[in-house]
């Protein structure tokens, strides 16, 4: 379980996050949604410690991460897997080496064991026979999946995905969403996904946090979000005319 308590964050004079508190449970896909520029990425980066919070606490299963030094954080970080928005694969390493990288840095596995584990993870995300390609030689959707394979290679307790399906076609998006959902349930991970994609919200939103103007504006799940009356959430979810019509039908029923 990851808890954030009253986090605030400013860059210089501009405050980005205002007093956000939330709880993210294991075995659930937790979504952070909201319009562009509202602070979703900053919030996530505060949680994983790429930004320091100005106020408040970030707690990983009773361990107060935000108050730890570099060395203690390292231990928790080895329990974190993260898929970056641009995949962030190491471009000088092959697909297989990318997935093996965390294993090589942090485990005592033999080369053979590392290879087997990496291939298992790659298979798990449906990438087979691409071991020796460089990331630049694979497609965007594959890179996302390889990114997920790398993120899960160490069997993380906490999985973060920053916009896992931005820039992908609807079918591949759904594939990746389902993958995230399955591994979350399978390994009882605490998963946090940032997304813009309404399909994902409906498909995998076990727990949803809506961020607006740097504040936690609304919280609920994918069933509740359909029926909420919160104006900003409605504006966000039912942004297109198509969705607006859908909503009026839903409400009329």
């Amino acid at each position: 379980m990851i808890e954030v308590k009253h986090i605030s964050k400013s860059f210089g004079d501009t405050q980005i996050l205002f007093d956000i508190s939330a709880q993210f449970n294991p075995g659930q896909v937790n979504l952070i949604i909201g319009a562009s520029g509202q602070g979703k990425s900053v919030l996530t980066k505060c949680i994983v410690g790429l930004h320091e919070v100005d106020e408040g606490k970030v707690i990983y299963d009773d361990r107060v991460f935000s108050e730890m030094g570099r060395n203690d954080r390292k231990l928790i970080r080895q329990e974190i897997g993260m898929l970056f928005q641009g995949s962030a694969l190491f471009d000088s390493l092959t697909v297989l080496e990318n997935v093996m990288f965390p294993l090589k840095m942090f485990t005592k596995m033999s080369k053979q064991e590392r290879k087997e584990r990496a291939q298992f993870c790659l298979e798990r995300v449906g990438i087979v026979g691409k071991d020796d390609l460089l990331p630049a030689e694979t497609s965007g959707g594959m890179q996302k999946r390889i990114g997920i394979a790398r993120a899960i290679s160490m069997n993380p307790k906490y999985l973060f995905c920053d916009e896992p399906n931005s820039g992908l076609d609807p079918k591949t998006s759904i594939l990746i969403d389902n993958l995230i959902k399955e591994i979350t349930y399978e390994y009882n991970m605490t998963t946090i996904v940032i997304t813009h994609d309404m399909n994902s919200v409906m498909e995998i939103g076990d727990h949803i946090i809506f961020i607006n103007q740097g504040r936690k504006w609304w919280e609920g799940n994918n069933k509740e979000i359909i029926r909420t009356d919160n104006k900003e959430v409605v504006d966000f979810v039912y942004a297109s005319t198509f969705m607006k019509n859908l909503r009026s039908k839903l409400v009329n029923n």
């Binding site: 790429l50 390292k74 970080r77 970056f84 641009g86 840095m105």
Partner: protein, 248 residues
């Protein structure tokens, strides 16, 4: 950011560079790869430049020696001294700052803007140490060998240039090369010492600029240019200071 902030941040970075690597075996693997990428791969360029520069030094010295009072072996002597004191350590370092510095800054800068550095940090890797220490150590330790090679090739270049244009005999040239060696020997150590300093500066400054890129591809390009400018200026300043300290 002003100059002093840059210098402060640079030294803060060095503190992380020299922390213990996460895993020894990975460090050594990267160390030798970097030695190959940075030093060995620069040798053809260094060799080519040195050979022709040596030739030019001796030809110019010969053409400027009109006084019959100067013995002919002075040509070999001057070629040796300019090669060892300035040409090989300083000029070659400046050229390498252009080649290697821009390369490192854009490599690390690209890793920064594509979040690869964040990915390392999230995994719990000390990204500064992981990326920079192998590069900095490999260059600082191996670069002097490349410079020794540069010195040799420069002297050979000087010799060939002279004898093919019939300016002096091999014998006179060699007499010149050996002249006053017993009192000038320390120049070689001074030169190799300053090479190590320059190599350290080139790589660490390039790493600094690359690591602190913010933005996108455009900024990576700028960082790479800035790192070459900063490294060149620093090399020349360091050269002046070291010469003051050691030779005067």
């Amino acid at each position: 950011m002003n100059l002093f902030e840059h210098i402060g941040k640079y030294f803060m970075m060095l503190k992380f560079v020299f922390s213990k690597p996460e895993k020894g075996s990975v460090f050594w693997e990267r160390f030798f790869t970097e030695a190959q990428n940075i030093v060995i791969n620069s040798i053809p360029l260094i060799g080519f430049l040195s050979f022709f520069m040596g030739g030019v030094i001796s030809l110019q010295t010969a053409s400027n020696m009109s006084s019959p009072l100067l013995p002919e072996y002075t040509i070999g002597y001057i070629t040796r001294q300019s090669t060892i004191l300035e040409f090989s350590p300083t000029i070659i370092s400046l050229i390498i700052a252009g080649k290697v510095g821009s390369n490192i800054a854009s490599e690390i800068g690209t890793m920064r803007v594509t979040e690869q550095i964040d990915a390392l940090e999230i995994m719990g890797v000390n990204s500064i140490g992981f990326l920079m220490l192998p590069k900095i150590l490999a260059t600082t330790l191996f670069f002097p060998f490349a410079i020794i090679l540069s010195m040799l090739l420069s002297l050979i270049g000087g010799w060939l240039a002279g004898i093919t244009s019939n300016l002096y005999s091999t014998k006179t040239y060699i007499v010149g090369l050996r002249a006053f060696w017993n009192v000038d020997q320390h120049h070689l150590y001074y030169a190799l010492g300053k090479t190590m300093v320059f190599a350290f500066l080139i790589t660490s400054i390039a790493c600094y600029y690359g690591y602190n890129v913010k933005g996108g591809a455009l900024e990576v390009g700028k960082a790479s240019t800035n790192s070459v400018v900063a490294a060149s200026v620093t090399i020349l300043l360091a050269n002046y200071i070291l010469t003051q300290l050691v030779l005067i």
